[in-house]
């Protein structure tokens, strides 16, 4: 068995069936949203494969549905996407083979998104180097596959789906995100950024609605780092 096969097998076997199911249902919710906002199925599918970031896709389709101009939509989507920068910086060093950046690293980064990030960060660092990228792409294939299925299904059943059921599907995403983040957490230092970021969000949503995520992330993450990690990090550097 090649490494690629082994990585793919591992991804499909023990990777996260519950996250895949949630993601699929979340994209059903997205398909319903696209249908309601006058977006074509082709465009909906395009965003699932070539954006592959549900919050950004929802923002884009929401902007289109409100007849916003391109530049306003671009600003809104970019601001929603800023989270992908620190997420990529945290994940890619584990996937990288050597010191140089290869084209495949850029391809891998295109799929960085909350679900894939959560599921990769809890497994990839503990895998042997040779298996990391194959496992990551196996996980990607599975998650992008179920997302595509969900998008099509949601679009097609949109007319027949009661609004409360559609709402319950959209509701699954934040619930899973929170559980996925805390499932990785062991020490106080792991729980701190989750709770501080979550707690600060309403304040920044009120203060600066468009920069709320960036500010909650920067301030919340830095506070949590200074309180819980700086001491252990500097101790490790001295030792």
């Amino acid at each position: 068995m090649t490494r690629t096969e082994a990585g793919f097998r591992m991804a499909f076997r023990d990777a996260a069936r519950a996250p895949a199911a949630v993601l699929c249902l979340s994209f059903v919710g997205f398909g319903v949203l696209c249908h309601g906002n006058g977006v074509s199925l082709a465009f909906a599918l395009y965003t699932t494969i070539f954006m592959y970031a549900l919050p950004g896709q929802v923002t884009l389709v929401d902007q289109i549905g409100r007849d916003m101009p391109l530049w306003t939509a671009a600003l809104a989507v970019s601001l929603t996407g800023v989270r992908l920068l620190p997420m990529t910086i945290a994940l890619v060093p584990y996937l990288r083979g050597g010191r140089e950046t290869r084209p495949v690293d850029y391809l891998a980064s295109h799929f960085v998104s909350v679900t894939l990030w959560i599921e990769s960060m809890r497994r990839v660092p503990f895998l042997p180097r040779g298996l990391r990228l194959p496992f990551y792409f196996g996980l990607t294939a599975m998650l992008v596959g179920v997302s595509t299925l969900g998008t099509v299904a949601g679009y097609l059943i949109a007319d027949r789906l009661p609004p409360i059921v559609a709402a319950s599907l959209i509701f699954l995403t934040p619930v899973y995100f929170f559980m996925g983040l805390s499932a990785n957490a062991r020490a106080a230092a792991d729980f701190a950024p989750i709770l501080i970021g979550f707690g600060m969000a309403p304040f920044f949503m009120w203060l600066t609605p468009s920069l709320d995520l960036v500010l909650s992330g920067l301030v919340g993450g830095t506070v949590s780092f200074l309180l819980f990690r700086r001491k252990s990090a500097s101790r490790a550097e001295k030792a």
């Binding site: 465009f43 989270r83 990030w117 995520l213 830095t222």
Partner: protein, 112 residues
């Protein structure tokens, strides 16, 4: 609603560019960085806090069909899901099913 093919094409290109620009910048900035270094630990905390803030925004100011459901229903169901998740020893399926059950129950009770 937007009609011309060009408008859809520009929205499509913009959507990809506005997402991938951050990812590609992330690959560039992470060059030669040790994944266990203090900088990366800080970046990890910032990412985690950002995702947590995104969760809060999804709950507090939801989009699409979820916007039609009252705050109380969302908050009660979210809390019930988390409690079930912790009581079951971090089993995702249990937490998610509990959250959905609480969602429909709260909707039926609070918003008849």
């Amino acid at each position: 609603m937007h009609d011309s093919v060009w408008i859809w094409l520009s929205f499509a290109i913009m959507g990809t560019a506005a997402s991938d620009i951050w990812r590609f910048a992330g690959v560039l900035l992470s060059r030669g960085v040790d994944p266990e270094s203090a900088v990366i630990l800080w970046v990890k905390d910032v990412s985690t806090a950002l995702v947590a803030a995104l969760i809060a925004r999804m709950l507090l100011s939801p989009t699409g069909a979820l916007a039609g459901v009252g705050d109380a229903v969302r908050f009660v169901a979210f809390g019930a899901g988390l409690v079930a998740f912790w009581l079951s020893g971090s089993r995702l399926a249990v937490g998610l099913l509990a959250a959905e059950a609480a969602f429909f129950a709260a909707h039926a009770l609070i918003e008849p």
